[in-house]
Every structure is written in structure tokens, then in C-alpha cells.
Symmetry: C2
Subunit: 191 residues, 2 copies
DNA sequence: TTAGTTCTCCTAATTCAATTAGGCAAATTC
DNA sequence: GAATTTGCCTAATTGAATTAGGAGAACTAA
């Protein structure tokens, strides 16, 4: 075994850092190789192709996001849990924009099923359980919430809020309040 | 003027069609040239570079989306307007996935300001006016709604809903009901 | 109508990313 | 220590982006 221990692990980590620096869409096998100080072809001993590089970063991101969500949720319930979960989500996106973008990379169903994605949405379901929604609404609410979080963060990161003076943080808080309000008004139980 | 009338107009239209067929991220100068039956360099007489090609498609998409939204809104108000606007948005994304993706392409502030994007969000503001939200909430609500629409559609198109049997249409309807409910509960005026 | 100008598209060539084939030397195995 | 494996390299191909420069047709002005 000659050379400077290139491993799948190191490749993934380097790719993730690179993605955060230059953007997930600009992530390339060559760039990763350069940063690792090896030639491009050397990486093909560890990865199938450029797509796999991206998939790996995506899986890492999903894992990290689920971990953070789990940590944020510990010991919380109700609106408290909702806000903690949402903040963990948004903070991750801001801290690791490249990985966040990676998390939205289209995985084939197999891979997606084995990723931490389901774990993440399971946590969202748990939060929603606290709102005691009537049966068929559960799934709708998961989609709604998922969309609202992703959509807001995605617009914010794309710079869509820079034109208006209002702080993005304030709007985020308002959004979470409103989501909580909406869910409570859908609840079987009254306030 | 020799040759088969290549114009910026035709290039843009061809690029948009191609994007819908193969995906915006796979849109390339070469592919457009091939489809137009000319050599790659020929396009550079009409476009600056590959990025401009994408920007053009993005601008076209924003224009079309705003037009559709305007048409959908005609003569409507309140929840009716909200739903019509949202449906126009979602339908466009389903009909022209490549262009929809293009509409999310990051434009520089200058270009963004001159695009139909502001017109689109102005319409959203108009809808919200019907809900008579207290002053500072207006902006928050625009961001909230924009995020919710984009997020839902984006997750749906990415196939995120295929795992669960529940119809995406049903969840969409639920989402719109809930958004309306949430906005009304934020209103100055009671129901 | 013709010489000059201007378009519009082309060929040739460069650079960079992705990827394959095949080689060589260090590390490991027995 | 010979055989094998492992880890990275060089060489080479393909495809996309982009630049430089050319040739022909159409337009223009005399």
C-alpha cells in the first residue's frame, strides 16, 4: 500500500467540505482529487463515478441532519419540539450549504430508503403526533411541514429575502408561530 | 446572412424545451446546438456563455409563471385567489419541470430585479392584502407562502411523496386549506 | 453592378472534467 | 523472499465550453 491513505471515508469528507465551500453543483471529482493531492484516476479505486461522489455527500448530509434533529428534539414536545426541529434544520443549512443542497440530490428509491431521510421524517411524524391530528391528515401535515421548512430555507439561502429589510430571523419566527397555530387549529383537541 | 436563422429567441425556446425533456441541470450549449442543427461555436454569436443560456431560460420561466398567475387571479379574491395562484404555480412546475427548475436558478440581483419575479411576488402580496394582516406580518407571510409553495412542489417533483399511498393532490388541497386557515387566524378581521 | 461591409455559421484548436486501461512499486502473505 | 495485492500513477479518449479566425451570402452605397 503506497501513498497517502486515500479512503472512501476521506473522500466523502473532503467532498462535503468542498461542496460547502464552492457549492454542491460545482463539486467535481477533479476538485476532490486536487484537494487530496492525488490524480483524478486514483479516486476511481474508491468510488464508482462522479455521481457516487455526490450520493455519498448526500447520505452524509442526511445522516448529520437527522442526528442534529434528534439532539434538538431530546426532551421537548409540542411547539417547543417543532421549533427546535425547525431551527436545527435551518441552522444546518446555513452552516453547511453545500451539504444541505446535497441532501436534496435525487437518490434512487433503494438508496433513499436506506438513508437517514426516513429517520428524519419519522421525527417529524413524532412531533405531529403531539398535535393529535385526525388520521388522514398526518401524511398531509408531514408533506406540508417538510415543504414549508425546505421552501423557506431554500428561498432564504438563494438570497430571495435580501431585497426586503425585514430580518429573515423574524420572518422565520413568524412562520413557525403560524405553523404551530395552523396545526393546532387542525387538532382534534382544543387548546 | 447565411444559414438557418438562428436567433436568440429560438435558442432560448429550444433550450427551454430541452430543459423540460432532459432536466435543467443537464442543459448544455452542445445539446442546444445539436438540436438546432448547428455547431456549438455558432451559438456564441448569440449568447455570451453557457450561464447566459440558463439565465435566459430562467427569465422565460419567470415570465411564463407570472403570466399564468395573473390569468389565474383574474376576477378572484380571498381563498379563491390563493388556491388559483397556488394551482397555477404547481401546474406550471408539473408541465414544465425544466423551466420550473430554471426559475430557481440564482440570478444576480440586477437581473433578478428586472425579471418577472417581482411581478409574481407582487401578486402574492395582493392576495395577502385580502387577508388584512397586521403591518409587519405582510413580508413574513410572503416568505412563508412562497416557501410553502416552492417547498411542497419541489418535494413532490423530487418524488418525495411516492413512498406513501396518499395522493399528492389530496395533500395539496389540505395544505392550501391549512394555509388559508392560518392566514385567516392571523388576520385583523375575524371570520 | 461591383467593391466593401456585415452577418452568420463553420473549422481548428485549447482547456478542463470524467473515465478507462494498464503499469509499477510498496506492503502483505505465506 | 517469491507471489500477490493494493494504491496510486501515466497515457489516452470523449465530451463540453470557449476562443480565434475564415468563408460565403446578403446588404449597402456608389
Amino acid at each position: 500500500m503506497a501513498g497517502a491513505g486515500i479512503t472512501g471515508e476521506r473522500i466523502t469528507r473532503t467532498a462535503a467540505e468542498l461542496a460547502d465551500e464552492i457549492g454542491f453543483d460545482k463539486l467535481t471529482v477533479s476538485a476532490v482529487a486536487r484537494r487530496l493531492g492525488v490524480k483524478d484516476p486514483s479516486l476511481y479505486a474508491h468510488i464508482e463515478n462522479a455521481r457516487e461522489l455526490k450520493v455519498r455527500v448526500a447520505l452524509l448530509a442526511l445522516e448529520e441532519m437527522a442526528d442534529r434533529a434528534a439532539a434538538a428534539l431530546a426532551g421537548r414536545s409540542g411547539k417547543d419540539a417543532l421549533v427546535a426541529f425547525a431551527d436545527a434544520y435551518r441552522d444546518y443549512a446555513k452552516e453547511y450549504p453545500g451539504r444541505y443542497a446535497a441532501a436534496r440530490f435525487e437518490l434512487d428509491p433503494q438508496t433513499a430508503a436506506g438513508s437517514a431521510g426516513p429517520r428524519h421524517s419519522e421525527m417529524m411524524r413524532a412531533i405531529l403526533r403531539g398535535y393529535e391530528l385526525p388520521e388522514p391528515d398526518q401524511t398531509d401535515a408531514v408533506r406540508f411541514l417538510g415543504g414549508a421548512f425546505h421552501g423557506y430555507v431554500s428561498l432564504e439561502m438563494a438570497g430571495g429575502f435580501r431585497h426586503t429589510p425585514r430580518e429573515a430571523d423574524a420572518s422565520w419566527a413568524w412562520t413557525l408561530d403560524t405553523l404551530d397555530l395552523a396545526l393546532r387549529s387542525r387538532s382534534r383537541k382544543p387548546a
